[in-house]
Subunit: 286 residues, 2 copies
Amino acid sequence: MQVIGSVEEMQKTSRALRAEGKRISLVPTMGYLHEGHLSLIRIARENSDAVIVSHYVNPAQFGPGEDFDSYPRDFNRDYELCEREAADIIFRPSSEGMYLPDHSVFVVEDSLSDLLEGAHRAGHFRGVLTIVAKLFNAALPDCAIFGSKDVQQLILIRRMVRDLNFPIEIISGPTVREHDGLALSSRNAYLSEKQRREALVLNRSLMRARELYDKGERDADVIRNTVHETLKEASGSELDYADVVDINSLRPVKHLDQPALVVLAVRFGNTRLIDNTVLAECNIEL
Amino acid sequence: MQVIGSVEEMQKTSRALRAEGKRISLVPTMGYLHEGHLSLIRIARENSDAVIVSHYVNPAQFGPGEDFDSYPRDFNRDYELCEREAADIIFRPSSEGMYLPDHSVFVVEDSLSDLLEGAHRAGHFRGVLTIVAKLFNAALPDCAIFGSKDVQQLILIRRMVRDLNFPIEIISGPTVREHDGLALSSRNAYLSEKQRREALVLNRSLMRARELYDKGERDADVIRNTVHETLKEASGSELDYADVVDINSLRPVKHLDQPALVVLAVRFGNTRLIDNTVLAECNIEL
């Protein structure tokens, strides 16, 4: 496995792989890999001949007061995990290499990026789309794999690929959960034991929403209320948002006649967790 | 020569050319080609094995009330000219293919794009950078050629390539002028005979600025005043801006100890013309 630190070297390597006829995949990560990331690397393996895992904690997607400085980092562990999953390349750019002091060009989205996560994390998606565009242009992949837990990110990246004509297939991986249902997240490491127990309320809310939907409930407000009531069971939590939204517009829906998402963001102390589930009559690939 | 109308077909064709080991160049145009464009196609030929000329009047870079509807168009003539210059491909996407009704992702620049042209054409550079990013991702070139007349555009595109890591070399072509010095522009076609004569004032101002500079003048205000005085010689014109700015920051300068640009935008009736020249002690490639 190769570790590449510069954009130029990464581009050269990808072009050489492509010239050999190899199909290239990219799994963008901020490191501190967990089983969720590893499942994406496995999807990448199945879909390509050469797997690039990018490893970069992107300052531009953290707001002031967010956890950029404390975000967990352990490169040696991540290296071992990538090697075990037979990734071919770790792309690990330096911050100086990624953002020059007078960096001034950004990718923005005007319709969906101020909703939900965007409403609570100013500038977050500008930071995400910009770094993903940069990683796409550095790694030049045929396909890129993103997890479904960050569903708004996934939808916005698909939108960016469509609107800016990136010649890249976006493949989503299902959310990976602990045995008790908590969605995997590098931020779970921040939780106290008590918070860890209370955090189960996210998945419990989603399960109850799906139960109602599967029994035929199509009034979004009924499901919304159940979710809100369930979330109150965690005494130490603060709600950022919990909603039932259209899968394309991300706007709240009334009647569940089209595929919808239940989306949640809940804070436990300083730790912010998100989760989601799809409500649809057939299988929907996010 | 091949005419390609869809992004997917363009990407497929470029990838096939690259797989054959060919170096690909892109000359982005809005059509109605003049000798300025043709000089860029010749530069493209010298720098690549396959020349793509894109041909698309981009609505997103015209403001409300600007000349999108009346912008001159003549595809058959442009086709002949491209064939004569031995271009390999004309990429001519449809507007529907380029902008879906819910298009919402844009490339923006935060530091230089509100100055000069940007101050007079709200949203212009967002439109330019977005379409150029789309054309880059459609044509997947190794290099792209832009004219120096639109100098702020050229600087912003170089910035975009740098900040978003596009693996593309940007090559500039010198401004091509009529025998009497008027910079070629598709918009010159709008000028009345009288305006056409008066429009020479742009180049005359730049010549006087260079004359002063070449004689050793390093006080930017002296040059600025001369340019303003010269521009007043055209009775039927209205000034948008005329300034002496730093070649990197595009901000007004006082002392000409670093390379600078004299930049002009002047309106003759509804026709808006721009021009510029470099003031530097050695040759500067824009």
